[in-house]
Amino acid sequence: MSNLLDLLVAGLATGAIYALVAVGFTLLWQTSQTINFAQGEFVMLPAFLMLAVMHAGAPFWLAVILGILLSLLLLGLGFKLLLVDPMLRHGVLPLAIATMALAIGMKEAVKQFFSAEASPFPSIVPAGDVSILGRVVSLQSLGVLALAIAVVIGLTLLLNRTSIGHQMQATAQNPTVARIIGVPVERMILLTFLINAFLVALASLLITPIYLAKFSSGEVLGQAAFIAAIVGGFNQVRGAIAGGLLIGVVDNLAAAYVSTQYRAAVPLALLIIIILFRPQGLLGRPEERTV
């Protein structure tokens, strides 16, 4: 029984990581029908931006700030203006495929310009353990969990309590109507891209000390976040959080009680079941079917 509790705690800690990555996913989908297959790489890159700044001799705090600013510029503004805007009129699919190419390009660029090796990354959370109710939990995991919770609260407040949030929701639900009632739709869409860029930079900052800075570390993350987003509900922020936590826990339980060789299969099986029987996800709203 204590074993099960350990697994739950560990699963929640990993799940919080997936959740953080998944949130941005759902935001992009909602406001601009962008399925970002490079989301994992988006989390991988900011850490390298920060490392690059540090290699140039800057202190860690400055590297963090510059890294976040560069992420906003590259992964927010640049991504939207250079790839999404020109592609969007072609429909969902070509854009999704373009992001797959983007993922390859980002991985290769980091490998070529930085290193194929994993690099350690300083942690902003002290690398210790604390004991909670007799379970030993790492501070880093707690940090991620705390941030994930803060992000949900922050985003929920932003979306529901501020006028910008209402405008963003209007944009997500029906851009045409939103435009008619005077919402600056373009600016709102840009804002979601910037929020996504900010979130992945934060995630990168928190996750990289655990995952290490490596060009390929986005692959596992991206896929897990993907599954989390769909399982939770593609069109809901809280769905992504719930999905992330669930996938983290399911993954741990599967490894402990099903088979370590097939642990990766269990979340995928969950994904297929969800798509078949509740395609809008656990917490999502139904969307119209096409055929």
Partner: protein, 378 residues
């Protein structure tokens, strides 16, 4: 004065002519995992090769001729590896280098053998050198020679009766796991838990809790460096205190760097490592870090050694002769005293397997401490 200039010119002309007569640079072909899942392996290997070639060429080359290497990307895919090796062989290189993945070695080694060109590769799977291929050479211990040493240590020194095995589920990890499982059977050591993990896995909580439940006398860990560091942290967190034993990838400096305190007490057999307590190896490491800005793993060392194996063999023959290369390397002993680039004395047997000194080390307060030197067999 004049005559001296004249003599100098003459000398230059003669040496240039000699180089010309020798027929230009010696061509080597490398096929490695430069992209895809094995990119870390392949890029280390490539950098090691480039470093060694740069050194040799800076000192006037091999028998007065420059070494020249072409790198091709196998994309970590045996099918592509085969194509690239085929292409490399069509250009008739002196020696073929790589690949690093055992699967890719398996699919390409018949081609090199058919062409009669020696292949110096990075694969560690036991079976590679068991098929009677006369052209295939290792750069490191095969698992069939390293695992018995680990098993013996676990049995003789630790007196363990039951062991949990944690391995990474790729050809490297599975190969090691299969060999050591057989070795444990010889000593009647019970396998308390047999845990497969994924490459790149970040969360080892479930795996460690399984180990905890199995309550073994020791844990054998066969993962890559990054995953080793993560599992060591998790083992410490879940307060598992039994001895942790592994191979080069468990007790390397990199693991210590990444795992911090959690690495203390980890022990393992080390065949080829940049942490070896050998001055030449330390010097290599410095050179590598200076050039590439990071500490190589053992694949960087393997690539470096491959080039010096070529140098030593060629110098032994006294000429560049692709036909006789493999024959010459079989049974050859290369001494570090005469060829410093080989770093440690090494002997190649008839199968292309390597014999070299090894170490049993333990991490004590963040430092590798050699507990036992395992001598070269002959």
């Amino acid at each position: 004065m004049r005559s001296r200039i004249f003599a100098g010119l003459l000398l230059a002309a003669v040496s240039a002519g000699a180089a010309f007569a020798q027929g230009g640079p010696i061509k080597l072909a490398d096929v490695a995992e430069l992209s895809g899942g094995g990119a870390t392996v392949g890029n280390n290997w490539k950098n090691g090769i480039d470093l060694a070639i740069e050194e040799i060429n800076a000192k006037g080359g091999l028998l007065g001729r420059k070494l020249e290497v072409t790198h091709a990307d196998s994309q970590s895919n045996p099918g592509v590896a085969r194509a690239q090796v085929q292409k490399a062989l069509d250009n008739e290189p002196y020696v073929l280098l790589g690949p690093g993945y055992s699967g890719s070695v398996k699919v390409t080694s018949p081609l090199a053998a058919e062409a009669g060109i020696a292949q110096i590769m990075g694969g560690e799977a036991a079976e590679l050198t068991q098929g009677g291929n006369k052209f295939l050479f290792r750069t490191s211990f095969g698992q069939q020679s390293s695992m018995p040493k680990v098993a013996k240590y676990i049995h003789d020194e630790l007196k363990a009766k039951s062991v949990a095995i944690v391995w990474v589920n790729n050809d490297f990890g599975k190969g090691g796991r299969d060999v050591i499982t057989k070795e444990f059977a010889k000593y009647n050591i019970k396998i308390a838990a047999d845990i497969s993990t994924e490459a790149g896995q970040a969360d080892f909580a479930a795996d460690v809790s399984k180990i905890k439940a199995a309550a073994p006398d020791a844990v054998f860990i066969y993962l890559n460096e990054e995953e080793s560091a993560r599992i060591l942290k998790e083992l410490k967190r879940q307060a598992i205190t039994v001895p942790l034993v592994g191979e080069t990838t468990l007790v390397g400096q990199k693991v210590v760097e990444l795992a911090g305190d959690a690495a203390n007490g980890a022990r393992g057999h080390v065949g080829l490592t940049t942490d070896a307590p050998v001055d030449l190896v330390k010097a290599f490491r410095e050179k590598f870090v200076k050039k590439y800005n990071y500490v190589p793993d053992h694949n960087g060392l393997k690539g470096y050694l491959a080039i010096y194996m070529i140098k030593a063999t060629t110098e032994k023959m006294g000429k560049v002769d692709a036909k006789r290369f493999a024959d010459t390397l079989h049974g050859l002993t290369i001494k570090a005293a005469s060829e410093p680039g080989i770093l440690m004395d090494v002997t190649f047997d008839e199968k292309g397997d390597i014999d070299r000194q090894g170490f049993l080390v333990e991490i004590v307060e963040g430092k590798q401490v050699v507990k036992q030197v395992l001598p070269k067999l002959n």
